[in-house]
């Protein structure tokens, strides 16, 4: 149901153009709808494709760029862990290899430190701490013998866990270092431990080994969020790290965040298993996604460019299409109107002929009866009564005559006359007709202007019928102009196959409504004396001769009748209007 409704809505909205609306609006609506529809079906898939491409590319690019970061982070974390593990193992080895007493010997512990420094990076000092937390033996650059560590939290942690790696601290020495401590594993004594400090230089080396780009950063941070190594972005050791690293998750994780300056960054972090360190690698997304940005720009420009091209094409195409439709419709409408008009004329003509024919017979009887009455009255004795009757019969005969003129013209209008073609000079025909009308023109003081083109070729047509045509139109023109008006006749060639004759008067003209009806039988403005058949007959004749007659008129300014005739007669079949 919903679907049906939607379909109806769309088809109503887009494909049904209201017929009643006036043409320009109709075509505007059509143009708008086609444009919208075309843009819709072209731009939507394009946009869809661009969006899908965008996200897919983004995803694949991210995984491609981020995975190395993850691997790097993980590897570095493992290096750190290995490094620390190594140190603890070393200490554990020492506690196993040497007894409490041996380590308490200053010489031995110094020897051990020398070996440690030689063989392992980062060892600074080493000390033996008894079960009360007192450092009883020490080898290293500082004099830390007899130092009490029993209050330190790491001391208790070592007792609990067996070993411990401290956070980075400055301690008494005022440079960052890490303390590692292991509990003794010898059988006899349980509670002594070996403590060594390591320079964090090694940490920095490990981070440097990551070979990060200049804008990237990597550092260690402890669970309290205190930097353990120097961060390029967030400050020195032991300063709090401004970014919050999520707790938990043994794997290397990557999150997106923004730094203090609002730049987008990727943060890769990995928690250490044994210590509360977290390795953090920070990379600006701009760096990672540089290619991505180029791609995004490219895709944007391609999309915008395509849309522009599509729009230009759509608008152009729609314009062409709509204009074509418009022309076709106009042509169709014109042809239809012409057909309608000629059909109307022909059916009216047929009707008129039928009526005229039927009326003719009774008219003949009336005529005969009246004539008979006249004859009787003339031959009889002339009483005063019979004279009156004679007058009456005369007026009957006159009326019948008038009727018969009408019926004859009607029949003439419908009659299928055979056209007798001959080669004739159209100007000669026009001059002949003017000859018939000279008296009338003179009488009414009408100015006649003849602009006849002498170079016109002869045409093949019917002289008698052309004379009737010009006679009809010229009489109308004479009737239309006031006394002293002017009538202009012009003949000129039109194209290679037609000649035209324009008859122009400066008479009273016609309204549009009149103009559209003048070729209809019985339409007349000469109320009382016009039959309304002159122009229909003219129209019929011109049509029959293969020509065209048109009229152009403006009220108060005058009318122009233009008759175009073919040079060579095309035999046109005219309906048999009996």
């Amino acid at each position: 149901m919903q679907f049906q409704k939607l379909r109806d809505f769309i088809s109503n909205k887009f494909f049904v153009i209201p017929e009643a609306s006036s043409s320009p609006e109709r075509y505007k609506a059509l143009r708008r709808n086609i444009t919208i529809l075309m843009l819709f079906v072209t731009i939507i898939p394009l946009a869809l494709m661009a969006t899908i491409n965008y996200y897919q590319y983004k995803n694949s690019l991210q995984s491609e760029v981020i995975n190395p970061l993850r691997i790097l982070t993980n590897k570095t974390k493992l290096s750190f862990e290995l490094f620390l593990e190594e140190r603890i193992s070393t200490l554990k080895f020492i506690t196993s290899a040497y007894s409490y007493e041996e380590l308490n010997d200053e010489n031995i512990i110094n020897d051990i430190l020398i070996v440690l420094k030689k063989e392992f990076d980062g060892f600074i000092d080493i000390g033996l701490i008894d079960d009360k937390g007192i450092q009883i033996s020490y080898a290293g650059p500082y004099s830390l013998e007899e130092k009490d560590y029993s209050n330190q939290p790491w001391f208790h942690k070592v007792i609990l866990d067996g070993d411990h790696i401290s956070n980075v601290f400055l301690g008494y020495r005022k440079f960052p270092h890490v303390a590692i401590a292991v509990q003794s594993y010898s059988d006899d004594s349980c509670c002594w431990m070996l403590r060594a400090t390591i320079d964090t230089k090694k940490y920095n080396e490990l981070i440097a080994a990551m070979q990060l780009e200049p804008l990237s950063d990597a550092f260690l941070v402890n669970n309290e969020g205190i930097l353990q190594t120097r961060s390029r972005l967030f400050g020195n050791e032991l300063e709090p790290c401004p970014i919050e690293i999520p707790v938990g998750g043994g794997e290397t994780n990557i999150i997106e965040a923004t730094d203090n300056e609002g730049n987008e960054i990727f943060i890769a972090y990995s928690h250490f298993v044994d210590t509360d360190y977290t390795l953090v690698v920070v990379k600006p997304s701009s760096l990672i996604l540089k290619t991505w940005f180029t791609f995004r720009t490219e895709i944007f420009f391609i999309f915008v460019g395509s849309v522009l091209i599509i729009m230009i094409i759509v608008f152009k195409l729609t314009d062409i299409q709509v204009n074509r439709i418009r022309q076709a419709e106009e042509k169709h409408e014109l042809a239809f109107r012409e057909l309608e008009h000629s059909q109307k004329l022909s059916s009216i003509g047929r009707l008129a002929a039928g009526v005229a024919h039927e009326i003719n017979n009774p008219l003949a009887i009336i005529n005969q009866k009246a004539g008979l009455l006249q004859d009787i009255l003339t031959s009889g004795s002339g009483s005063s009564n019979s004279e009156r009757l004679l007058k009456v019969t005369q007026s009957i005969v006159q009326s019948v005559d008038r009727c018969s003129v009408i019926t004859h013209r009607l029949l003439g209008f419908a009659r299928r006359m055979d056209v007798e073609y001959e080669e004739l000079d159209i100007n000669e025909v026009i001059n002949d007709v003017f000859g018939f009308l000279d008296q009338l023109a003179l009488h009414r003081n009408i100015k006649i202007e003849r602009k006849l083109d002498d170079s016109l070729p002869k045409i093949s047509s019917d002289r008698g019928q052309l004379q009737q045509v010009f006679l009809n139109i010229l009489s109308n023109a004479y009737a239309a102009v006031d006394e002293g008006g002017s009538v202009c006749v012009e003949s000129y060639p039109k194209g290679e196959e037609n000649i035209c004759i324009a008859i122009k008067d400066d008479g009273k003209g016609m309204s549009k409504e009149e103009m559209s009806r003048i070729f209809e039988p019985f339409f007349t403005t000469k109320i009382g004396y016009g039959t309304g058949l002159g122009l229909p007959i003219t129209y019929g004749i011109v049509n029959k001769l293969g020509g065209k007659i048109s009229v152009d008129s403006e009220e108060g300014i005058g009318s122009t009748f233009t008759i175009c005739l073919p040079l060579k007669s095309k035999s046109i079949k005219i309906e048999n209007n009996e």
Partner: protein, 142 residues
Amino acid sequence: MSVKLLILDDEKDFVESLAERLSLRDFKVKTAFNGEDALKIMEENEFDVIILDVQMPGMDGIEALKRIKETNQLAHVLMLTGHATVQTAIDGMKQGAYDYLMKPIETKELINKLMEAYSLVEEQKERIRKAEIDNIMKNKGW
């Protein structure tokens, strides 16, 4: 010598008044309202001119014309048509009609044409008489 005339038309009123008017003008008029009647009347009478309506129910004008021409009458035929098809008139004239008239007819024109036709018939009759006389003269044998 008055003109002997036959009017053949299906419009009774028309025929009668026309006949009366022409009688008043010293024509000897007989009337018929259909082709068969006309042919019957023609068997008994001789006419100078026959006025014939083109359109009639039953035997139409052209048909009647043919039948009339088949008889021995010298009479000329005037076609009467209420129907301005020149073609019908031309057809009729090709079949031997003398002329045609369109309804409603002017009495003057009708009489003119009648007289024309009559004079032609008279001329013809005259020639026939002459020929007969010549023939008699040749054969009289002196």
